[in-house]
Amino acid sequence: MSVINAVTCPICGCLCDDIEVTVVNNEVVKVKNGCAVCEAKYMGYKSEHRIRQPLIRKDGKFVPVPMKEAIHKAAEILANANYPILYGWSSTNCEAQRVGVELAEEVGGVLDNTAVVCHGPSLMGTQEVGIPTSTLGQIRHRADLIIYWGCDPWSAHPRHLERYTSFTKGRFEDSEWKSYLNKVKAAAGRKKVLSATRVAPKQQRATVAEEVVFNKPPETLQKEGRKLIVIDVRKSMTAEVADYFIKVEPNKDYELMQAIRALVKEQELDVDQVAGVPVEYIKEVVDALVNCNFGIIFFGMGLTQSAGKFRNIEVAISLTRDLNLRTKFLIMPMRGHFNVSGANIVFAWQSGYAFGVDFSLGYPRYNPGETTSMDILLRGESDAALVIASDPGATFPKRAIQNLVKHPLIVIDPHMNPTAMLGDVVFPSAFVGIEVEGTAYRMDNVPLPLKKVVEPPEGILSDEVLLKNILEEVRSIKAQKAKKAEVV
């Protein structure tokens, strides 16, 4: 039995690097410090859902084949395609991503990562107006006002609050965990008193109805110490622990942000409410924003996937810039996959662009809407695809997948996910961060090392080695073709 400390968790953009993994006979048996999702991954990596050998679809059914045959088949598909898409890359290490760029250039394809359905609009917003941001360490030690806008870290980044924001003790700011527990205890006490005094059912209903009405910001919003504001269209799990929850109407985040900008600049609004939020309450929130010492806005899919998309991000960044005239304020996207930031960085450092890179003309080109994999699939322009370390089968709209499966589809993934179930050539791969080491970038673009804690099953290669083999085979097929053409 061995206990491995300081393991980096390969799931979300938090990249928690304090996980303790117990290994017995080359198998993870216990995980400490991780969240529920972390535990599911470390317990699920060896489950029955694992792909054990390369598969090729023959007459509609998967047939196990030797690795060499699968590599040749995949290379043939890519070498013969005119406009292949190479999509995914976010749940693998930077080393594999680098080989991916080389492969995309070699086959003249479109290289895209999961940012396209995640924070692609954030990257576009950043390209428009820049981004005032920092590392998570700064936020942990200094932030006294935390805003989660259109994101629910308690569901998607479960340890974000505990490690980087409200519930962590920083050098200059204390954890709010105890005061949250007191709040919960007080609420439970009130409930007990209510039931003990046997309030009539009619009055009880009135208490429930009160919750539906827009609540006034609490006085604690102007207090010293850490404050948490959640802005979302529904009361999320994170909203439950917030000092103040603002329920914005769907698709109206843009209006609310512009209203806040106007109030930060001390302009008057001649309406009673914006996006369903009373202006007098927005004013109190603005007071809290300008009076804090160090504020941070974390934003998620609530902004990037609803009306406005990258314009929402542009205005959120502009709001941060305006707030910096009054106090210190930063902004950061809540990145989803553990190495989607890495994919953006590797692609940008190799090709100049962070996502949606088109190599079909022999040089990299980027034009969102034209060279992004989603639009290419919706228009049905591609003629082959390689999907690695992601699952468009569970994340893309139906029509995009219908066009994806019309042409040969190569899938590289450790698990039999919906995309793999739809694939033509399916490769098993080793789990990055469990069976393969490497580098991954956290949501604040800090690179962290991923550890190998167990050996991969026999015969299963890492993404990097697999891609190198495919690249080599593509080059050899192309060389043979060129030779034949010369003879003719």
Binding site: A40, H49, V212, E240, P368, D375, D391, T395, Q402
Partner: protein
């Protein structure tokens, strides 16, 4: 008064159960349970005469899908429904990318109606139905 059909705003997104299911394995029953459901407002469910745990049919211009109706546990979300990301949600989400690559996964119109007799498809059945594989 009970309504046949309710016009709502469709939201899709993450839940902790969906996160656990996807990491454990997307063929697992955890993933199926977490993704083949829809969070609805208690008042909206009453309007439709739908009980917690019964099946509903959600329809958008892009398709229809049968899901299990679950009462939203926190606060009101009247006029909205929330489906966790997954193949079930994707069979009805919008294709509109506004020419920037990102489909409108949140904030598009949909209708909900009670469908107590229609079954919820398993992942395999859903993929077969939508993509023929």
């Amino acid at each position: 008064m009970m309504q046949q059909k309710l016009h709502v705003t469709l939201l899709t997104g993450r839940t902790i159960e969906q996160g656990v299911g996807k990491e454990y394995g997307k063929s697992s029953h955890q993933y199926y349970d977490a993704c083949s459901m829809v969070y609805m407002d208690a008042g909206d469910m009453q309007k439709l005469g739908v009980k917690h745990g019964s099946n509903v049919l959600v329809t958008t211009p892009n398709g229809s899908v049968v899901l299990k109706a679950v009462k939203h546990p926190r606060g009101s979300m009247s006029g909205m429904i929330y489906i966790p990301y997954g193949p079930w949600a994707n069979s009805i989400v919008s294709n509109t990318t506004n020419s920037i690559g990102m489909p409108s996964f949140k904030g598009t119109p949909a209708t909900v109606e009670a469908a107590p007799d229609q079954p919820i498809l398993s992942m395999k059945e859903l993929l077969k139905k939508e993509f023929g594989r």
